[in-house]
Structures are given as structure tokens and as C-alpha cells.
Amino acid sequence: MTATEGSPERKRGKDKKDWEPRIVGFLCKWCSYAGADLAGTSRLQYPPNIRIVRVPCSGRVNPLFVLKCLVNGIDGVLVSGCHIGDCHYSEGNFYARRRFVILKRLLEYLGIDPRRFQMSWISASEGDKWARVVKELVEEIKQAGPNTEFRKGI
């Protein structure tokens, strides 16, 4: 189990063999976070690779958050919000959608595997979709392999 020393490198598999992807999800608290809650209430099982950062709205997610995760060596980043039209704040996900299509394309242009940054719309009633998305994401990131390039050098 975990060592507790402060280094951020802790718990990362030394070998590729026992490497497990680390994924971060930025979830809006109204829909996607509640959807993940529902997955729990429904006892749907999914791999433990994802860590959730709770945000009020997908519109809150600054592209720099995503970037920070990636350069910190996080293997995959997911931004998830309400379906279009369901936004608690009526329009937040529209803004998120626009800003992240640009980021996604830019990252791909710069050679970042597109699987590493993804978006989804998951409603509060889609616990099953949440579990499925996490499963798929973990599979895809496993195929993409560990995100090690940014760990080289300082």
C-alpha cells in the first residue's frame, strides 16, 4: 500500500508491468458528480483509477487545470458536465464545450495523445453511464500507456 512520504512520485508503479493509469475527473457537482454518486448508490462497480475534483460547473474548469494535470504526469483527464440544456446554470456547459474543443485540438496538434484528455456529459440519473465511461477511459488510457514524458528533466 501507500508510502506516505510527501513526494508526488509516490505510488506510481516503478515498472510498466504494475502500472495503473491515474485519471482525474473534473465533475460538475449538479449532474456528473451526482451521476457518480448514483453509480455508488446503485453499487455499480468500476475500476478505482479515477480521482474526482468536484467543481460547481463544467464552465468552472480552467484549461490550465487540465494542462497542469497532464504535465504533472496524470495519465488521463476527464471533464464532465451536464448534458446540453440541463446545465444548472443554464449555459455553463456551452462555454466549456467551446473552450475545450480548442484545447483538445491544440494538445493533439502538439503531440499529446487525444485519449489523455476527454469530455463527457453525464446527468445525475446516468450512474450507469458514469461507470461505463470510467471503465472505457481506464481501458483507453491503458492502451495509451503511462504519461512519462513530462517527468523527464526538471
Binding site: L67, V101, I102, Y109, G111, K152
Partner: protein
């Protein structure tokens, strides 16, 4: 042309329509050009205009907020003035734009042979995808007289090189940019030369939180370059100053162009054409693409 520019500048200062003229003068090396700031009518003699006038002088407008400024602007420079107006960084009444008809400027780096492998001298790459020779905004327009100098040959597809790069494999792209960014020395010249990087405190300099690593590593350099590009999304007007300023030759325009292309294709949005249009990322369309979303 230069006589009329001088005359106009002289008149503006003499009649106190402006407090200061921002223009071009010859640099001490006798070949290249340097920015000049003139507040006395008689000093307008110093002004020059030729194909070495590479600078986007609108970058200096932020230094003189609240004063009446006359500025010499090429088409690309004028577009950045439009974005500055759009973003409330300028008051239209405070600036007098001496628009100049431009038929391309030189590629200063090649010309001054900083890179010894000098290829044929010529126009800056950016001028080959710039159609308008007249600024989209001006108070007075100084046009070329007599025979027009030869303009650069326009690219058929302004995004041709972007398309070519897009077609590369992920690992090729990664390797390419890893090499490019590895040279970045984080001097922030790309930011400082950019007329649209006017933030009082750039996120790169903020420490609470520390948005990006200060380390001169791929990690830090990648973050900086992506941040810079993202913050110019829908705003960059491709004056190319960042790439010109970059001492280590990172093809920054290529990144800017990539976003420009996406923004145009996805949202039919072009920066710097109207001061009234909303900021790209501060608005949306119900039908924005979402095929990338699960």
C-alpha cells in the same frame, strides 16, 4: 509615402491633436528599424517607412493609457488595435491611427542573418497569408504612390503548413514540439512583444496558485507555450511578432495558426475584424461542435 507620414505626424503634434507619435526610425546599426516615440513636432523628421518596419507598434499603446497617441499601423497592427478596442484596453478617441498601406515586410531574422544559414532574402512568412494591404481601421490612410512594390506571393491555403503538420502521427508531432519547446528559455519575449498580452499580472508570474512551473524543463516550457496559445485563442491576429521576437526560433506562429484555423472552421470566428464582436470564449453557439464529447 514617408513624406506624407511625416507631414501628418508633424501636423498632429503641432496642432496638439496627439501628445505622442509612435512610429519607426532607423536603428543604430543603420539597416534595421527601431520603434521611436516622438513628442516634438520637429522630431518627426526621424520617422521612416520601409519594408523593415516589422514592429507591431500597438504593443506600446498600453504604456500610454489616457494620453492621446498617434500611431503608425499596418493592416495587421490595426487588427490588433481592433482587438484592444474590443477588450476595452483603449478608448478610440485616445488614438489617432495613421494607417499605412503595406505590401509586406521583410523576414528580419533571415535578413540580419542571426541564423547563418541564410536562405533567400524576402518577405516574412506571415505576409504570405495576409490579404489586406489596407488597415481595417484608421483615421488617415497613407497609400503607396506610383508603382506598387512587388507584394509577396500569397499562399493558396493559408493553413497549408498547419494541415501538413496535422497529418503527422502523434509521436512525430510530439517529438517535433518536444524539440522546439526544449529550447525555450522562458524569456517571455513572445508575451512581452504581443500587443494582446496586456494582463497586469500574467498567470505565468502568479504564485498563488503557481499555474505553471518556472522550471526550464519540457514540463514548464510546454505549459507556458500552451497557456500562451490558449490565451490568444480567438484573439491572435497573426502579426507574427512573437515568432520574430523568439530568440531560439520556436515556430510560435504555427501554433497560433493552428488555433486560428480551428476557430475559423469550428466557429466561423475571426479575430480583429470588428470591435463590436464578443470575445470568442465568452460566447457560444447552441450548435457548437460536440462530437468529441462522450
Amino acid at each position: 509615402m514617408i513624406d506624407r507620414i511625416k507631414k501628418k505626424a508633424e501636423e498632429l503634434l503641432r496642432t496638439k491633436q496627439v501628445d505622442l507619435i509612435i512610429g519607426y526610425k532607423r536603428a543604430p546599426d543603420g539597416v534595421s528599424v527601431a520603434p521611436v516615440f516622438i513628442d516634438k513636432a520637429e522630431e518627426t523628421k526621424e520617422l521612416i517607412w520601409d519594408t523593415y518596419c516589422v514592429y507591431n507598434l500597438s504593443n506600446y499603446l498600453k504604456d500610454f493609457r489616457g494620453r492621446k497617441i498617434g500611431i503608425i499601423a499596418k493592416a495587421c497592427d490595426a487588427r490588433s488595435i481592433i482587438v484592444l478596442l474590443q477588450e476595452n484596453q483603449l478608448k478610440r478617441k485616445d488614438i489617432f491611427i495613421i494607417g499605412v498601406e503595406c505590401s509586406g515586410i521583410v523576414d528580419e531574422k533571415k535578413l540580419l542573418s542571426i541564423s547563418p544559414q541564410t536562405s533567400e532574402l524576402g518577405f516574412d512568412e506571415r505576409c504570405r497569408s495576409c490579404k489586406p494591404s489596407k488597415p481595417p481601421i484608421y483615421d488617415v490612410l497613407i497609400v503607396q504612390e506610383g508603382q506598387r512594390p512587388q507584394a509577396p506571393r500569397l499562399e493558396k491555403d493559408p493553413y497549408g503548413s498547419v494541415r501538413k503538420s496535422e497529418a503527422k502521427s502523434i509521436s512525430e508531432k510530439f517529438k517535433l514540439w518536444q524539440e522546439e519547446f526544449s529550447r525555450c528559455i522562458r524569456c517571455y519575449a513572445c508575451r512581452q512583444i504581443c500587443p494582446l498580452c496586456y494582463c497586469p499580472r500574467c498567470v505565468a508570474d502568479q504564485t498563488q496558485p503557481s499555474w505553471l512551473s518556472r522550471a526550464h524543463s519540457f514540463r514548464g516550457n510546454f505549459t507556458w507555450n500552451v497557456t500562451r496559445a490558449m490565451h490568444l485563442a480567438g484573439r491572435c491576429i497573426d502579426c507574427g511578432e512573437c515568432e520574430r521576437a523568439c530568440p531560439v526560433g520556436i515556430p510560435l506562429r504555427d501554433i497560433n495558426k493552428k488555433i486560428e484555423k480551428d476557430v475559423k472552421e469550428l466557429f466561423n470566428y475571426e479575430a480583429g475584424l470588428s470591435a463590436e464582436q464578443k470575445a470568442l470564449l465568452s460566447c457560444f453557439d447552441k450548435n457548437d461542435p460536440e462530437d468529441f464529447i462522450r
